[in-house]
Symmetry: C2
Amino acid sequence: MRNFVIKGNLCYSESVDAVRLLPESYLVVENGTCAGIFNELPEKYQVWPIEDFGDKLIIPGITDLHVHAPQFSFRGLGMDMELLDWLNTYTFPEESKYRDMEYAERAYDSFVKHLRRSATTRAAVFATIHVPATTMLMEKMEKSGLVSCIGKVNMNRNSPDYLCETSVEAALEDTERWICETKDRFGNTYPIVTPRFIPTCTDDLMHGLRKLVEKYKVPVQSHLSENYGEIAWVKELCPDSKCYGDAYDRYGLFGGDHKCIMAHCVHSCDEEMELMKKNGVYIAHSPLSNSNLASGVAPISKYLKNGLNVGLASDVAGGDSENMFLSIGHALRASKLRWRLLDQEVKPLTVDQAFYTATLGGGSFFGKVGSFENGYEFDAIVLDDSELDHPQELTLRARFERALYLSDDRQIAAKFVRGERLF
Amino acid sequence: MRNFVIKGNLCYSESVDAVRLLPESYLVVENGTCAGIFNELPEKYQVWPIEDFGDKLIIPGITDLHVHAPQFSFRGLGMDMELLDWLNTYTFPEESKYRDMEYAERAYDSFVKHLRRSATTRAAVFATIHVPATTMLMEKMEKSGLVSCIGKVNMNRNSPDYLCETSVEAALEDTERWICETKDRFGNTYPIVTPRFIPTCTDDLMHGLRKLVEKYKVPVQSHLSENYGEIAWVKELCPDSKCYGDAYDRYGLFGGDHKCIMAHCVHSCDEEMELMKKNGVYIAHSPLSNSNLASGVAPISKYLKNGLNVGLASDVAGGDSENMFLSIGHALRASKLRWRLLDQEVKPLTVDQAFYTATLGGGSFFGKVGSFENGYEFDAIVLDDSELDHPQELTLRARFERALYLSDDRQIAAKFVRGERLF
């Protein structure tokens, strides 16, 4: 039964720059999809089940557009290095443990449990190179009720022996078998082709992955222009490319005929920006990670102004928490520091823009997701802000803004994904 | 009865740059003061009450060296402006409400309740210009068991009519009466002279406050070099001063013969830095606030290297939360962005340095506070990190680091101030 009505204070993005706030309104959900918002409930819906959330806030579910499931185990640890050293010192050793299915089971149980309890309803997830553990993660995510794309990672060079696909053929065979086994198996969980990033993938691996993208119509996710050392390295590895993004594009792994997420884009040049726009690439903005690893701050308001697709991301464990409210707050702060310290041409993000990236901006990667407008899949978070106490009456606008800055999972009173109630 | 022994994993700063980690150790507390740490408990203490906190982490209580109690009511709101506009638009109207004792009662109850539950054991607090509400706040803080300095604010120019002390004489009389009434009244709560900042205080008010500092041997707190517009304004108002800090010093309100806290110091020049060092001024580093209001990032590792006194601060409501763990995490992130975006001469903070500022750095303002070494007053937070789950064994070092990044009040299993257990 997915026909019902909910009532509460509805808050969702009507555009990149503006939030619509509808106090004490009815939202009709028909077959899991938003089918109308009303001040007074029309008679035809009055026989439908109605859940009245009273004075609570109801926002679209949040999309975490870039998160590393196997890194959840070391969130909040080892962020005293920049990207490339951090990968070698902390990340690769941890990811190698996922060849052990017992370890993977414990670790992914913890990840999925926390994600289910969080504000995240949709996620684009990196797993590891290991097919069995990746498939297990997909099974667990499917059970959670969340919607996700999950990627078996590919990496076959500049990687430690204990975490490296030594044969390109075997890597591509593994990946193809995994895609075939998982692509129609689940209701809410999909495979996504996931080359780690250019420094760890040879040309022939990348060309092979492109063929899989074409053959199976699957999306792509990777990393782009996160860190100066990384960018210089890609320039060495791909001397003919005009920029890092162009190098992906030459492999056919940069959107255009397929959906594509590129995490970070902290230091993208104008050419890269144009290419992302042309190809409809999704930027997964990961502000906590980009600060923790001293990468910098992506010029998000510029990307938004130029019409690029931007979603927000935790990037656990470069980011230290799965709580996407922390990413919203930090996206705002980081954009202000960028403006103050580096470049007053790029304006700080507004609260409305940050909220947009967390909901509709990233949600649209999954289709009509991230809004309460008619036709959008009904993903929602019900926020009880009563513990965020205050001595005076607050407007709905003020409550909305406070809730974004101050919420954690204690404020989440209910969660819906595709019209199903998770709790 | 304040003689007892606690057992657990002790973590405290042994210097600015290093944390000492003592697994499964006994800490003897004699008359509220740390009196020895042992692997094996000496026989003479074995008859004392022992509380065994098992595998939990025990850290010194945290000092919030700068927090505005009346602004707690609008934490997480209205951070879309820089300092001077923010004061006029959000802060001053809110602070004017504290003339109403009913409002003040509701608001301060909320503030004190949250602070008591938080990791903060000591605080330097701004109230408002209103004596009755300030005294009420002191009564509530005293009841909470926390230790604090609380300031009735002085401001008599460039302030809206509804929040301005129009007569200098009355302002000084009010302040003196309030100091006399409160300075010996409480066990844990002390008055602190609190000119808001130079732009809102005339010369004669400042000279009068200096006399009160001398006469009653009370400390001073104010704001310094937070924002470019503010600094330029002070230069206009005090054209003879060499710098903003020098202007305070010429009033005799910048340490030396009295204890003094200056919040922010984001843009302090070398001369100001030297003067702070000479006078033993405490810098209240407020990283969340300095990002939220786009002020910038103070060069904290440089201040520490130069031997200045630095404590950490929430600066609610420029900072959006009283949770000092968020300030620790953000101090680290902001220092990395400062390094990346502005100035690679000033190194990012380390976890150990950030922890130092939150404990011993700010605690020393209150005396022998912020450490478990012999002779230090026993303020402590017991952290239960079991809900921060993970699939593998973690070292004590890793658990300590994670707990700083990921904790909120849910992790606080027990709290002690001056040897008294609050919960």
